[in-house]
């Protein structure tokens, strides 16, 4: 069943993209930081997971308990040390965007360079739960299913927290209008820092989950950043639901191109889709027109 294979494979891949992109949409939509080093955090988490599994013989799910908070803390640190000075000096939102692009761009090279020094350029992977499971006639490795399930739990959890809690409401308020949020007594910079850190935590979780079933290397961060960006922009910046839906969509498109056209063109398909969305609807498929 080719169709079922594509849908199932696409959904699982798309679930990962959705999780990873929802972290980026928190960072860019709330903290207004376009973090070009985002994918490097993901790759770093994947390597951390690899070390825990191979050296300490821990289950990646157990590793998640450490790596997600570590991603949160590391991102919080990046925000405080590197980005707060830029937030302070920026006169306009545009100025902050350009500054943050340039700064995180430098960070990208630093982290990527460190990864190369530590791990070299070769591909890494580890074997975890690589047993086939059959669903309605289509065979899927158990690790992919598990990763998808964890991603779904995390995504639903974050979504519910944003909708139901006080902090979540504050985050959404800052995403919509920082100036007005300030007027109702929200500490915008603190909320922005928290959202940035939370995004980093989700990104790290995504890295662990991806490492369970994909091979990865030190140079792959940029690809993940680009894919997350594609999803964020497709979904509408700062729109978590949009990111979830767009992530699934991208997974389906990529799997379809890989299975029906040519696996060598999946990345080209991603970028093609991205450019198309930017041209047709720069505010995103689910974004409001005119911000």
């Amino acid at each position: 069943m080719l169709i079922l294979d594509i849908v199932l494979g696409g959904l699982i891949l798309g679930g990962m993209y959705a999780l990873v992109a929802s972290g980026l949409t928190l960072q860019y939509g709330v903290a207004r930081i376009m973090n070009l080093a985002y994918g490097e955090v993901l790759v770093a988490a994947a390597f951390a997971s690899y070390l825990l599994v191979t050296a300490a013989a821990l289950s990646p799910l157990f590793g998640l308990v450490f790596i997600l908070p570590a991603g949160f803390l590391a991102s919080s640190l990046i925000y405080r040390v590197l980005l707060v000075p830029l937030v302070r000096r920026a006169k306009t939102r545009e100025a902050l965007e350009v500054d943050s692009i340039l700064a995180t761009f430098g960070l990208l090279f630093v982290v990527q360079g460190l990864a190369f020094v530590l791990f070299g350029g070769q591909y890494y992977s580890y074997s975890y739960l690589s047993v086939p499971v059959t669903i309605a006639g289509s065979t899927v490795p158990a690790n992919r299913l598990l990763a998808f399930a964890v991603a779904a739990v995390l995504a639903v959890g974050i979504y519910a927290a944003l909708m139901r809690t006080r902090t979540g409401t504050a985050i959404r308020a800052v995403a919509v209008d920082p100036a007005s949020a300030r007027l109702v007594g929200i500490d915008v910079q603190r909320v922005a820092g928290f959202a940035f850190a939370l995004g980093g935590g989700l990104c790290a979780a995504g890295g662990v989950l991806v490492s369970m079933f994909l091979t990865f290397n030190a140079a792959m961060g940029v690809v993940f950043t680009m894919k997350a960006l594609v999803v964020v922009i497709m979904g509408g910046v700062g729109n978590l639901m949009g990111a979830l839906v767009a992530g699934l969509l991208l997974g389906l498109v990529e799997t379809s191109v890989a299975r029906l056209v040519d696996p060598g063109l999946t990345l080209a398909a991603t970028f093609g889709l991205f450019l198309l969305v930017l041209l047709v609807k720069p505010t995103g498929l689910f974004g409001r027109a005119g911000r």
Binding site: M34, L82, P85, R89, E94, E97, V98, D99, I101, L102, A103, F105, G106, L107, L108, F109, V110, V111, Q112, G113, L114, F116, V117, V222, M226, L229, V230, I233, D262, G264, L265, L267, A268, F271, G272, F274, L275, L278, L279, P282
Partner: protein, 311 residues
Amino acid sequence: MKGVPLALVVAAMGALALVPFLGTGYHLALAIGILNNLVLATAWALFSGPTRYVSLATAAFFGIGSYAAAGLGEALPWPVLLAVALVLGAAMALVVGLSTLRLSGIYFVIFTFGLSELIRQLVTWWEVNVSRSVGRYIFLDVTQEGIFWQLFGLAALVFLVGWLIGRSRLGLALRVVGDDELVARHCGINVTGAKLLLFAVSAAFMTLAGAIMAPRWTYLDPSIAFNPVISFQALIMALLGGAGRLWGPLLGVVPLTLLFEVLGANFPNAFSILLGLVFMAIVYAVPNGIAGWFEGAWPRAVRLLPQKAVR
């Protein structure tokens, strides 16, 4: 003050012109690197300086030029090939510009980056599936000195064109747009047209640089020609020097090319880390570039006198 930039450019170009006569092969290679970066960074700033659109498409245009040379170099006489490369780059800039200059800042950055990656992926796919080989060998009869003088001429041309634009109505239009786009429109300036024209001019220079540089690598593959580091280096060098002035990038290109050369030779493994650190240092410490810092300090020192006299 007015004469300083001209003197600076002339002195730098004059010093470079001596390299083929006085220097060794190593010096010549270094001078080629400086000239290539000078063309790319100055051409980048030509568009991105006044419009404040941060373009990461330098690698895309450079790569197109390189591939034009690799693909057509043996079929066409060299001047014709350069003309073809120029037209290709400018035409692509017009198409890209028409569709993207409506996008606001951040989207333009990401779009241009995505565009370079898309072209790289497509060229790779084409080479693997149609040409049946990822890389190409370039056997063109051009010496290092030939490449040097072509780049030298191109760099001189960039400065000349930039200078002419600065004195022209287009130059004034861009300064007005840079100050206040709405006022510019109400002054009758076709803002999109002005940006588009400038984007095409800038892209044409980048494409030519790619074509001229192509024979330098005897082996060319998409990851060399479309290397995103090309875009980043042009950006960082122009920013360090100061993208707001024609002569600004020169101040960034020379020290950074030399620095990267030293770093690449001595710390090949840590090159990326050091590149990133230099990049961040520039963003945090010299946000307006060396030229901006210089121009800021100069009038502060001189201004007090005449103004007091007037009052």
